[in-house]
């Protein structure tokens, strides 16, 4: 059994140990770690109290089990084995723990395995001064000696106090950590609430708030002035609401609170729910939850507005419907509105006449109405099946139930589509087709008549074309005939010339006395043969000229010539005739006469012809040939003036016709075939010129040829 260690041992420390105790005490005070303190303690015992082995064990406050904390002079396995529950009273260690004083255990006396190996040991509870249940551990040391007991007792006291203190400190830190976690948890809970949540005191000061509440009620100094003001205002509004609530209705209540959004400056409407809380230490406070109902109110207002609009729209629709009814009823043609199942939803009075039978009407009428209905239903179902086209047109053979006569109608249907494109209704208007059919019949007749007319016009046109062709053919034939005539004349002139050549030749020879001298009467008569033959030759030449001109076989020969020279030649050629006729002839050149570019031979032929005519028709007197130039028209003029018999005004154009003289009777008197002027006119035309006659019967004539100074080929 154990015996209590003598108490005096601790009371009388050796002088040397006082210093060691002080050093250890300082070390213990400086350390905050229990294990370190324990290790230093057992080491100190070994060094200063001659302990061979020492162990410091602590009671786990959770399990009440004793565990070794530090040891000296024993194996780790022994250290580990030293694990005892506080309630195992039979165990020496557990026993010593609850004992009042240090106990010395003799060798082998204690139950269980010896904690420090074989041999006696001392067990000192830590701290000795405490009540057994409040002790935190035990100090074991061996071998027992008075010195060891004394030192162990002191150590147990000092170490015990330290360990108790460390344990209390750890508890406080742990508690603080727990509280901190709990507070964080609480804050995260209230921050996760989507509504602003606040705990305020009776003055309205915020004790706890979540972030959403902070957004409304807290402004930091660096934030904008507007925000500061908004936050101040919000705090005032909130405090006012709380205090009025505290007065009016102390129990939890809902009320509306209008605040300002500090960020945007807009109004925010909240529903405020406040509850009074009593806290034993903090006193009375309020927990407030604010719910944003701004959107809710806007939505409510929107719903009200929509409802109002709906009512207006309904009224409009009603008015529209009334108007539509009026319109439909005022249309003379039947109108029907059918739903998707073919049921008639609406019809006007004319439609009713066709599709409803009045009460008490006869069987015939009922039957007609049913037949109409069947035809119409069939038509409408076709409309529904008609696919894409929004309009549908068709003909329905209805009957007029009242007049009991067939009523062909043209039906035009329009589909009423929903916004999803489904056909919701069909509106059909029926148009009396009787008239249209009559019109079609009339139109057919008209068309037939028109076709007949067209046919006649076509025949007439064909006839016209035929006649035109005939005329053209005739024109061609005429042209050919004219050509043939010209050719004929040309051939004839050749045929005439050949014998004339012989006549003229032989006559000339006879007159020259080739075959011997002739008597004067023979010469005179032969002279007549000669002159007649020459006259005949002239006529033939004239005919040839005309045929050549008409056949287009008389080309222009343009050359440059001088008028004075030409006039001289002309006068020289007619000189014998003039002398023979005992006339006088003069020429007159007026102004500067430019050189002429033209067909000299033809100009000469014309003027020669005019001259011979003048000589022929001037029994006595003078002939004057004059040449002039009109610069403005760039024309030359050659005039032949005589003092002859003249030409009556009526005859002045006729004389240019073929085979004409002014008076046919003069032909006999003056001779000539009357082709000269005709040829002159044709030649003048070829030269792009003209011949103008001025004359008076019995007072002479003037024939003037005008031609361009510069001739051009046609």
């Amino acid at each position: 059994m154990a015996r209590p260690a003598p108490a005096s041992a601790a009371a009388l420390p050796a002088e040397s140990n006082a210093v060691a105790r002080l050093a250890l005490a300082e070390q213990l005070i400086a350390s905050d770690d229990a294990a370190e303190c324990a290790q230093r303690a057992v080491d100190w015992l070994a060094r200063h109290a001659a302990a061979k082995a020492a162990v410091c064990a602590l009671v786990d406050p959770e399990t009440d089990e004793l565990r070794a904390l530090a040891g000296f002079g024993i194996t780790p396995a022994q250290l580990k084995r030293l694990s005892v529950h506080r309630d195992e009273g039979a165990h020496p260690v557990a026993f010593a723990l609850s004992g009042p004083t240090p106990i010395v255990f003799a060798n082998g006396k204690a139950r269980g395995p010896p904690p420090l190996g074989p041999g006696p040991f001392v067990a000192v509870p830590l701290p000795i001064a405490e009540r057994p249940e409040a002790r935190v551990g035990i100090l074991l040391a061996a071998p027992p000696s008075p010195e060891l007991e004394r030192e162990a007792r002191w150590l147990a006291d000092a170490l015990g106090q330290k360990l108790v203190h460390l344990r209390a400190m750890r508890r406080a830190v742990e508690s603080e950590h727990r509280l901190q976690r709990e507070r964080e948890l609480l804050l995260s809970v209230i921050n996760s609430v989507p509504d602003p949540v606040l705990l305020t005191d009776t003055e309205g000061r915020i004790i706890i708030s979540n972030s959403r509440a902070d957004a409304l009620f807290v402004a930091r100094d660096e934030q904008s002035e507007g925000r500061q003001r908004a936050v101040t205002l919000n705090n005032m509004l909130f405090s006012a609401a709380l205090s009025s609530q505290a007065i009016d209705e102390p129990e939890a209540a809902r009320r509306e609170l209008l605040l300002v959004n500090p960020t945007e400056g807009t109004d925010l409407l909240f529903e405020l729910l406040s509850t009074t809380v009593q806290h034993p230490r903090e006193g009375t406070g309020f927990v407030s939850i604010l719910r944003n109902v701004t959107d809710l109110r806007a939505a409510t207002e929107q719903i009200e507005e929509n409802y109002r609009k709906l009512r207006i729209a309904e009224a409009d629709v009603r008015a529209e419907r009334d108007r539509l009814d009026l319109v439909i009823d005022s249309v003379a043609d039947p109108i029907l509105v059918t739903d998707a199942s073919g049921k008639i939803l609406l019809m006007n009075a004319p439609a009713e006449r066709l599709f409803t039978a009045p009460e008490g009407s006869g069987d015939d009428m009922q039957r007609a109405v049913r037949t109409n209905d069947a035809h119409f239903s069939s038509f409408v179902s076709n409309v529904f099946l008609s696919g894409g086209a929004s309009r549908f047109r068709g003909e329905i053979s209805l009957a007029d139930p009242q007049a009991a006569r067939p009523l062909p109608v043209e039906a035009i249907s329009g589909k009423v589509l929903s916004e999803h494109g489904e056909v919701t209704a069909v509106v059909t208007i029926l148009h009396d087709h009787t008239e249209a059919l009559d019109k079609a019949r009339l139109y057919e007749q008209l068309e037939r008549a028109s076709k007949e007319l067209q046919e006649k016009v076509r025949e007439a046109t064909a006839e016209l074309v035929r006649r035109n062709e005939l005329l053209q053919r005739q024109a061609i034939e005429l042209e050919q005939a004219s050509q043939l005539k010209s050719q004929f004349l040309a051939n004839m002139s050749h045929e005439f010339r050949t014998p004339l050549n012989a006549i003229l030749g032989y006559t000339s020879m006879l007159l020259q006395g080739v075959n011997g001298e002739m008597t004067p009467p023979q010469k005179k008569n032969l002279g007549r043969v000669d002159s007649n033959a020459k006259h005949l030759l002239n006529i033939i030449n004239d005919l040839l000229d005309i045929s050549r001109i008409e056949a287009g076989k008389m080309p222009l020969h343009l050359e440059q010539f001088e008028l004075p020279t030409l006039l001289g030649e002309l006068l020289a050629e007619v000189e014998p005739l003039i002398q023979k006729a005992r006339l006088s002839a003069t020429t007159e050149l007026t102004g500067d006469l430019p050189a002429v570019q033209g067909d000299r031979q033809k100009v000469k032929q014309i003027v020669l012809n005019l001259l011979t005519n003048a000589i022929k028709f001037t029994p006595q007197g003078a002939i004057r040939v004059s040449a002039g130039y009109d610069a403005t028209r760039d024309e030359i003029s050659l005039a032949v003036k005589d003092s002859g018999i003249g030409i009556a005004e009526n005859d002045q154009q006729k004389i240019f016709d073929d085979f004409r003289q002014a008076d046919d009777s003069v032909t006999r008197q003056y001779g000539g075939a009357g082709l000269g002027l005709s040829i002159c006119r044709r030649l003048a035309n070829m030269l792009a010129g003209r011949i103008i006659v001025e004359s008076k019967l019995g007072a002479g004539s003037t024939f003037t040829l005008h031609v361009p100074r510069e001739g051009r080929r046609p």
Partner: protein, 134 residues
């Protein structure tokens, strides 16, 4: 003494041919005659006349063709040919010149006019006047 110039008169119309022949003889020329182009060639090759009076519308061979052949033959190409025709149309004189005629006289042509033309032609110096076998 230089013999009088020999004139070949070609005309199918006997009266005209003989009329000119008589008058030319009367005027001092020697005259030979032909009634168509073929005869004219024969006469010309045979007698080498100094000048030929050639009617153009002729049977057997017309005056244009005869003239072409005369002018193509070196024996006769130097002999002046005076075309003589009653066809006073443009085409005739042009065709005659193209065939090689040296001058053109339209019928009716009085015998004394023809003589004047012949004298004029004979007096005109000719470039290739060298007469073969002259």
């Amino acid at each position: 003494m230089t013999p009088e110039p020999l004139v070949l008169v070609v005309d199918d119309f006997q009266d005209n041919r003989e009329m000119y022949a008589e008058y030319l003889a009367f005027s001092g020329f020697r005259v030979i005659q032909a009634a168509n182009g073929k005869e004219a060639l024969d006469q010309a090759f045979a007698n080498r006349p100094d000048i030929i009076i050639m009617d153009l519308s002729l049977p057997v061979m017309d005056g244009w063709e005869a003239t072409r052949r005369l002018k193509a033959d070196q024996r006769t190409n130097a002999i002046p040919v005076v075309a003589l025709t009653g066809h006073a149309m443009q085409g005739h004189s042009k065709g005659a010149m193209e065939a090689g005629c040296d001058s053109f006289v339209a019928k009716p042509c009085l015998p004394d006019q023809l003589v004047a033309e012949i004298r004029k032609m004979l007096s005109t110096p000719r470039v290739n006047a060298a007469k073969a076998g002259g």
